[in-house]
């Protein structure tokens, strides 16, 4: 085998492979002493060159028709002929038939053509860029978006390395998937997926282009092949990032009028919520506690009990101490007889909005726990007497909602259907029922705690870092 012949052949094959379009076909025919070998090369969906080849002996190729049927040179976009036994009659005869059917350059070469083809295909520059599938999180909302990060551009050669800094959260049953895709227009084509269960944290991922179609990742524990297809992977991607622990202000507004047992239960729920979130957001939670009762319109009353701010933006322990005093006192009796069909919700909202105006802007949750509706600002067909002050609860709820990063939650004694419509406004972001309270679910709805399990099956890319 002469080196110049090999170099010439390799160059010719490499040029022909590089020129292959997405639908193009390259045929290489080697005529040898014992028969003929046909190499058929095309690009797959990822732009990777793929080769199929087959050999036939001269005993099977006794006619021009048989030779042309085996090589099928007319269906190829380009043909390369290689002769490794120029002295053979069958070989020369076959070359003659092939050249006549499809004129092409004939390269003399006595070595194994297979090795040359394999070498060319393994070192073919990328015809499409290779991207790593990642998730990007909106830092403001925590909303997750599935996307990609380029690892290797078009033209990259095997041996090229690329580094990507990623963050991995607890994954799904496959762990974290490192999926590589190419792009066909706007459509991603999955090239490979490998997964591993990783310890959550930051990783500096190194990707090495081993050959077209094969990317090796280092910087993470050993990955194993993942059997999922693209549709399965997309389905596994969540839409929301679990909330990160951040300072939060929980305002618990509790109705402390009505039956003793109900008041006790409401206060008990508040205690559970404060305790849970205190553990979840260790050191980051501030709590306010507001107690409100019923108005009294009766001239037999000695004066109603006003809205009581028992604690404002204090540590959970202090709020729980204030709550204990409310628990010991139970349902308020001052101001009897009370109005039976509504409570001072609108007064409570007024007290809260006034204080919030001067409070620092952290994530704030107003959690109202009670049963009765608010009083309207003016007489209307509800027949509920108007607030004596007269506060407009709709206006005040709107004021709370328009405050940045402030949400409304409610725990109502009654179930959805029988609760007054005002409770849907008070619990605009999360409405729970007193008797069936899922505290973790409620906290997750409010962005104050991670749900029990929210796997992030792809590496996260934080472009702000």
């Amino acid at each position: 085998m002469s080196e110049p012949d090999k170099a010439l052949l390799r160059k010719a094959v490499a040029r022909a492979v590089a020129g292959l379009t997405a639908t193009g076909r390259l045929t290489i025919v080697e005529v040898a002493a014992d028969g003929m070998t046909v190499f058929r090369i095309h690009r797959d969906d990822n732009g990777r060159p793929r080769c199929h080849y087959w050999s036939l002996s001269w005993e099977e190729l006794t006619s021009e028709q048989a030779v042309l049927r085996a090589a099928d040179p007319l269906s190829a976009d380009e043909v390369v002929l290689v002769c490794s036994f120029p002295d053979g009659a069958e070989a020369n005869q076959a070359l003659g038939w092939l050249s006549e059917a499809r004129p092409a350059a004939v390269f003399p070469f006595t070595g194994p053509v297979t090795a040359v083809v394999e070498d060319v295909l393994a070192s073919d520059p990328l015809s499409r860029s290779y991207d790593l599938v990642v998730m990007r999180a909106d830092p403001a909302t925590g909303r997750l978006r599935l996307g990609s990060k380029q690892l290797f551009p078009i033209g990259a050669l095997p041996g090229t390395r690329s580094e990507v800094a990623v963050r991995c959260e607890p994954g799904d049953e496959y762990g974290t998937a490192f999926a590589v895709v190419t792009w066909q227009g706007r459509e991603p084509r999955l090239l490979s997926v490998h997964s591993a269960g990783l310890t959550p944290g930051r990783y500096l991922l190194t990707a090495e282009l081993v050959r077209p179609g094969k990317v090796r990742f280092t910087g993470v524990p050993e990955l194993t092949r993942d059997p999922r297809g693209w549709a399965d992977l997309v389905a596994a991607a969540p839409s929301q990032l679990p909330p990160r622990a951040a300072p939060a202000h929980l305002i618990c507004a509790v109705e402390v009028c009505g039956p003793d047992a109900k008041v006790e239960e409401r206060l008990s729920r508040v205690r559970q919520v404060v305790s849970f979130l205190s553990a979840e957001l260790s050191g980051l939670l501030r709590v306010s506690l507001v107690a409100y009762g019923a108005h009294s319109y009766d001239d037999r009353s000695t004066g109603e009990h006003p809205v009581e701010v028992a604690a404002w933006q204090v540590a959970p322990e202090r709020a729980l101490a204030a709550l204990e005093l409310l628990e010991e006192r139970g349902a308020i009796t001052e101001g009897y007889p009370y109005y039976p069909h509504a409570a001072q919700v609108e007064d409570m909202l007024d007290a809260v909005t006034r204080r919030l105006a001067a409070s620092e802007h952290v994530r704030t949750v107003l959690l109202t726990v009670g049963d009765r509706p608010p009083h309207p600002a003016r007489t209307n067909r509800s027949l509920i007497l108007p607030c004596p002050h007269p506060h407009d609860w709709r206006l005040l709820v709107g004021r709370v909602q328009s405050r940045p990063d402030t949400v409304l939650a409610a725990i109502c004694d009654r179930r959805d259907a029988s609760a007054h419509p005002a409770w849907r406004r008070l619990g605009a972001d999360a409405l729970a029922h007193l008797d069936a309270l899922d505290i973790r679910g409620l906290a997750a709805d409010l962005g104050l705690a991670a749900p029990a399990a929210l796997p992030i099956p792809f590496p996260l890319l934080d472009e702000t870092e």
């Binding site: 319109y297 009766d298 007889p337 109005y339 039976p340 003016r378 007489t379 209307n380 067909r381 027949l383």
Partner: protein, 328 residues
């Protein structure tokens, strides 16, 4: 309360009816309060001890106790005399003007339990003979009287829709009785009828009147209460009938038109308790006018002062109409 200074029976009788719970008893109590609040010397004087006691009890419950008077449990017959201000006569030549005797309108009012007129039994435990006797007595009284007060409770009509059921049977029986005695005039009953649309203080009634642009206020009303004039009251009545639970309220109007001359029927928009007025402002406030105060359970109290609206006017209208027509 004084006794009637004029001996003898009152010249005219007025009978009152309406569905149970339509506010007949409360209207009677409110009548006395309203007369005392007027500054034109009209007063009501009981003609016998029972009538005086009735008036004292009901008035006290409504004004001081702020509770609704107990509804009538039996047929009750009360007599009062409405005594108006003395009328000045014109001076003639050199003679001094002498005050004329005060205008006196005799009112004999029958307050009957609402269920008496319905077709069904009056009350569990009462035998049919008792009910028949009560109905017979009431029919006699209705036939004797020439003034009728019919209470139409729009809230009850909206929720139950039974006003027609309580109007039509007694009207039919009354017409039958008066046909027998030859007292029908042109095929019509000879009575004057004051239709009182009650519960004007309820937001649902007031808002309906407001939407129809039927509200005005009397310039001399120190509180500035909204009111609906008698000319517009019929329009409000029709509008309220449209939301009747049974859909039969329009037949109430038709029944009145069938049995009475149109000129003898007048509509009044009334409220026995009136609107709530803050003691500090003493002015009607559109933002806070509801005078009913719910208590635990289903009981209702009166929230503030009682300011009856249009409860005297139907009586005076009837009295004057009857007086103008001469004694029976």
């Amino acid at each position: 309360m004084q006794s009637d200074p004029t001996p003898g029976p009152p010249a005219h009788d007025i009978a009152m009816w309406g569905a149970p719970g339509s506010g007949k008893t409360t209207l009677l109590a409110a009548l006395n309060i309203a007369l005392m609040r007027r500054k034109d010397d009209w007063k009501i004087i009981g003609s016998d001890a029972a009538s005086s006691d009735y008036l004292i009890e009901r008035t006290s419950a409504l004004s001081s106790g702020k509770i609704f008077p107990e509804a009538s449990q039996s047929l009750e017959h009360y007599r009062w005399t409405l005594i108006g201000p003395a009328e000045r006569q014109e001076r003639r030549w050199l003679r001094r003007a002498r005050p004329a005797p005060p205008l006196k309108i005799g009112i004999s009012m029958f307050d009957a339990p609402g269920g008496l007129f319905s077709a069904g039994p009056l009350r569990p435990g009462n035998g049919p003979e008792i009910v028949d006797d009560l109905r017979r007595r009431m029919m006699d009284n209705l036939a004797k009287s020439r003034g009728l007060v019919f209470l139409f409770d729009p809230i009850r009509e909206f929720e139950l829709g039974d006003a027609f059921d309580h109007l039509h049977p007694p009207l039919t029986r009354l017409a039958e009785k008066m046909l027998e005695t030859g007292e029908l005039r042109d095929g019509m009953l000879p009575h004057h009828v004051a239709v009182c649309i009650t519960k004007f203080d309820d937001p649902r009634v007031l808002e309906t009147a407001e939407k129809l642009h039927l509200l005005d206020s009397a310039p001399d009303d120190e509180y500035g209460f909204p009111r609906v004039s008698s000319e517009d009251a019929r329009d409000l009545f029709r509008a309220l009938c449209e939301v009747s639970a049974s859909g039969n309220a329009d037949m109430v109007v038709n029944a009145l038109d069938q049995f009475f001359h149109r000129t003898r029927v007048e509509f009044f928009v009334t409220s026995s308790i009136g609107f709530y007025v803050r003691p500090q402002t003493k002015t009607f406030d559109w933002n806070d006018y509801q005078n009913l105060l719910p208590e635990a359970g289903r009981d209702l109290r009166i929230r503030g002062q009682v300011h009856p609206i249009n409860v005297v006017e139907p009586m005076l209208w009837l009295g004057r109409r009857l007086a103008a027509g001469g004694p029976r």
